[in-house]
Symmetry: C2
Subunit: 428 residues, 2 copies
C-alpha cells in the first residue's frame, strides 16, 4: 500500500522532533499539504472501480420523525458502569471522545454522572422555587420560565471526577473514553439566573445559594452568589432542543467552568443563604484530599486540561506516513490560548492549530500534522489558557496535590506508540 510522498518533506516544515510538522501547513492553503499527501491510502485506479451497490437498486424508506445514527455505528456509544455493586443506579457513562471530531458533543453521546439513575420527570408537574433570603419568594414552572429572555452559549461540562485514574500509581491500561470521557460540550440555552434573582430581590446578606435537584438523591450543592449573578443560567435547552432526561430535564442549573455536580440537574430549589450549607454532597463527596490530611472544599473551577483523542489507545496506527494529531483542550478559567504537542515525551514541543473561533469556557479542537516514521514515540499535549495557567506534568500535579485528591485530574497525558502502531497509556 505504502507509496512514496509526492512531495518530500522539507526540513523547514518540521516544527519539533519525531516528525511533528508546522501547523501552518494547514493555513498556507492546502496545495502544499495535498501534494505532500501521497499517504498510500488513496488508491490510484485505471478503470472505473464503482459498482452499483444494492442500496442504489431500490428506494430506501422515508426519513424518520426523529433521526438516529446508522446501524453501522452501533459501537459509537457512551460506555460506563455503576460505581458500586450495591447501588446500580450510581455511576457514569462517558463520551466516546476518540470517535468524535470538532467541538460539539451530540446530545445522544453527552457524558452523564448519576447518583440515583435518571428520573422520569413530568415537566407539567415540575416547579422551581427561589426562596430564603429574598424579598419575594417565587415559584416557576417550565411554561413561565419560557416567557423570560433566553440566552444560548456554547460551554463545556466536565465531571469533577473525570480522569480520576490518572492518580493511580501505575498507568491505567484503558482507552481515552474511560480515562477522560466525562467531558462534553453543547450549546446551552436558558434564562440568566440573575434576572430571576433580581425579580425575587436578594437580601444583601445572602452570599450563597443552595441548589437542590429533583432526582431521588436530592443532590444539593452550595454556590457562591457571585457566580450566580455573573453567568449562571437555568438551562432548558441542550443543542437547541430540550434537555435530555439524563442531563437535567426539564431544567438544570448551569455554571460555566464549574465542576459538573454543582450544575444541579432537575433543579427544584434555589435557597438564598448567608454561608455554605455543608451538604453531604460537599462534605462526604466532592471535597479533595490533599497531602498531609488536609481536605479542600468548593473546588469549583475545572482547571485547564488537554488530551489527544486521535491517536488514542483505542485507535491503532496504520503504518508509517502522514497523520493528523487531534485533540480537545479547555479551561474553566477562560479560554485556550495555545496547545503544544510533543512526540518525544516532552523534550521538544510544536504549537498546534486551534479550530476557530476559540470560545470562552468551551471545548477547543487542536490539530497538527505529523509524519510518523514508524519508530516508537511518546505523544503529549499541553494547554496554556488566557490567564497564563499551564497544564502541569503528572509529577507536578502529584507534588502539589498528593495521590489521594482523586478529583480534577488535569495533568498531561502520555500516549506511547510502539513500532507496531499500538497506542498505550504510560507515565512519562
Amino acid at each position: 500500500m505504502a507509496k512514496k510522498l509526492l512531495h518530500p518533506i522539507d526540513s523547514a516544515e518540521y516544527s519539533a522532533e519525531n516528525g511533528l510538522l508546522d501547523r501552518r501547513l494547514f493555513l498556507r492553503g492546502s496545495a502544499l499539504l495535498g501534494s505532500m499527501m501521497g499517504y498510500g491510502v488513496a488508491q490510484e485506479v485505471a478503470a472505473e472501480p464503482l459498482v452499483v451497490q444494492p442500496w442504489m437498486q431500490h428506494p430506501g424508506p422515508f426519513p424518520r420523525p426523529y433521526d438516529a445514527p446508522s446501524r453501522f455505528e452501533s459501537e459509537v456509544i457512551r460506555r460506563g458502569e455503576p460505581s458500586s455493586n450495591k447501588i446500580p443506579e450510581l455511576g457514569t457513562v462517558r463520551t466516546p471522545i476518540h470517535q468524535l471530531t470538532g467541538t460539539m458533543t451530540p446530545n445522544g453521546l453527552h457524558y452523564v454522572r448519576v447518583h440515583t439513575g435518571v428520573p422520569d420527570i413530568d415537566p407539567a408537574q415540575h416547579r422551581l422555587l427561589i426562596h430564603g433570603m429574598v424579598k419575594r419568594p417565587l415559584v416557576f414552572d417550565v411554561e413561565s420560565l419560557s416567557r423570560y429572555p433566553i440566552e444560548s452559549r456554547i460551554h463545556f461540562l466536565e465531571c469533577g471526577g473525570n480522569s480520576e485514574l490518572i492518580y493511580d500509581e501505575h498507568p491505567a491500561q484503558v482507552g481515552v473514553q474511560r480515562l477522560h470521557g466525562q467531558v462534553s460540550c453543547a450549546e446551552w440555552g436558558g434564562v440568566p439566573l440573575s434576572i430571576l434573582m433580581d425579580e425575587a430581590g436578594v437580601d444583601p446578606r445572602g452570599k450563597w445559594i443552595i441548589a437542590e435537584g429533583a432526582d431521588a438523591c436530592g443532590l444539593t450543592r452550595s454556590i457562591p452568589m457571585e457566580k450566580i449573578m455573573k453567568d449562571a443560567m437555568i438551562a432548558l435547552y441542550q443543542n437547541g432542543e430540550r434537555l435530555r432526561p439524563s442531563n437535567g430535564y426539564p431544567m438544570r442549573l448551569f455554571l460555566p467552568g464549574y465542576e459538573g455536580n454543582m450544575n444541579i440537574k432537575h433543579v427544584r430549589r434555589i435557597k438564598v443563604i448567608d454561608s455554605p450549607h455543608q451538604s453531604r454532597d460537599e462534605t462526604m463527596r466532592y471535597s479533595m484530599m490533599r497531602t498531609g490530611g488536609i481536605s479542600t472544599q468548593f473546588n469549583c473551577v475545572m482547571e485547564a486540561k488537554s488530551v489527544i483523542t486521535q491517536p488514542a489507545p483505542e485507535l491503532k496506527m496504520k503504518g508509517p506516513g502522514l497523520y493528523q494529531i487531534s485533540g480537545l483542550a479547555w479551561s474553566g478559567y477562560g479560554h485556550v490560548r495555545r496547545v503544544d504537542i510533543s512526540a518525544d515525551g516532552g523534550k521538544t514541543w510544536a504549537q498546534a492549530d486551534l479550530q476557530q473561533p476559540v470560545r470562552d469556557l468551551a471545548l477547543t479542537r487542536f490539530r497538527l500534522p505529523w509524519h510518523w516514521d514508524g519508530r516508537p514515540a511518546l505523544l503529549q499535549s499541553r494547554v496554556t489558557d488566557n490567564t497564563g495557567y499551564v497544564q502541569p506534568t503528572r509529577a507536578d500535579m502529584i507534588a502539589r496535590r498528593g495521590i489521594w485528591a482523586n478529583y480534577h485530574g488535569n495533568c498531561i497525558t502520555t500516549w506511547a506508540i510502539d513500532a507496531n502502531g499500538e497506542v498505550k497509556h504510560v507515565y512519562a
Copy 2:
C-alpha cells in the same frame, strides 16, 4: 395572573412602535430587565410549595448507551410528507424551528430532502472516485479518508426549495416549521476537498466537477471548480459524530452557502469536466422560472434570509406583557451584519440583539424584548448581511423573480397577531 410591572417601562427604553424595546436591555446587565419583569408568570408564594414527586421516591434507570429525548417531548419532531402520491420516497421532513432555540440543530431534528428515500449504506463497501480531467484518478474509502486532515466548521444548510409556499398567491395558513423548516445548522467535519483534488492533480481545463450520489436516484449536480477549491469539504461528521444516513452517511459533499441539493449526499463520484453536465437534476429540477419564460440555472448561493421563530403560528401568545421575540437569520454570501424587527408591518424598525459569535455561513440567533400591549400587531424581521444585501419584501421579490420561481423564497415573512394572541401568516 397579570401583575403590574415592578418597574414601569420608561419611554426611552422603547426602540420602535408597538412595544419593541431596546436590545441593550440585555446588554446593560440583567438588573433592569429583571426588575421590569413582573410578567405575572412567576408566582409569589408564602409557604413551601414543593412536593416530593413520585420520581423523587425511587431511583431511576441507569443512563442509556445512546441517549434519547424525554417521552414528554414526543411532539418535537421533524414533520413532512412525500411530495407525490406516486413516489412515496420523494419528499421532505422539516426542522421544528419554532420549538428550538440557539443556533445548532440537533442531529435528530436536521431537515432532510430525499428523492428516493434514505439508503442503508455499508461504509465498508462505499467508495469515492475522483476522476475525469485529472492526472491520477483516485479512489477513497471511509478508512483512507479518515487519515487525511479533518476540519470542522459550523454552517447552515438550506434546501433550495425551502419557503416555496411564500410564492403562493394567498398566504399559506401553515406554521413556521412547514413554511421555513428546511434549514438547519451543524458543525460539519471532514476533509477539505482541495487537498484530494491536489493529490489527484486537476487539469487546468477542468473548470467544473460533476458530483454523483449513491442514493437510488443517483442525484447528480455540476459544481464550479472555483467553489470546490475554495471551501468544499467531503463531510464525514455532523455535530461531532458520523453523518446520519438521511444526511449523507457515510460521506457527503458540503458546499457552504450553496443550496442543499448541490451538497451531494452519499457522494460516490467527483468527475472533473470542462463545462456543466446539464444533468436532469439541473434541467428538469432546480432551475428557476422567471417572469417572461426565462429560466435560470445554477442558482447556487442561498441569499440572505431571516424568520421569527418565536412567536410563530404554532405558538399562541399568553396575554399582554413582556415577551422575547426570537428568530434565525443567515446568508449564503457571508454573515449576518444586523437584523431589524418591526411590530407595525414594516413602518418602524428596531435593531435586534445577535447571539455571539456571529459566524460566516451559519445560522445566527437574533432576539429582542417586546412589551405586547394586547392589541393587534404585525411582526416582521429583516436581515442585512456583510455584503450589504438586504432581505427584500415579498412585493420586491415577486417583482424581480415573478411568482413561478418557486425556489430561494427569501422575502420578509409577516406574522399577524390578533387581540386573542393568535399568530397568523399574512402578506403585508
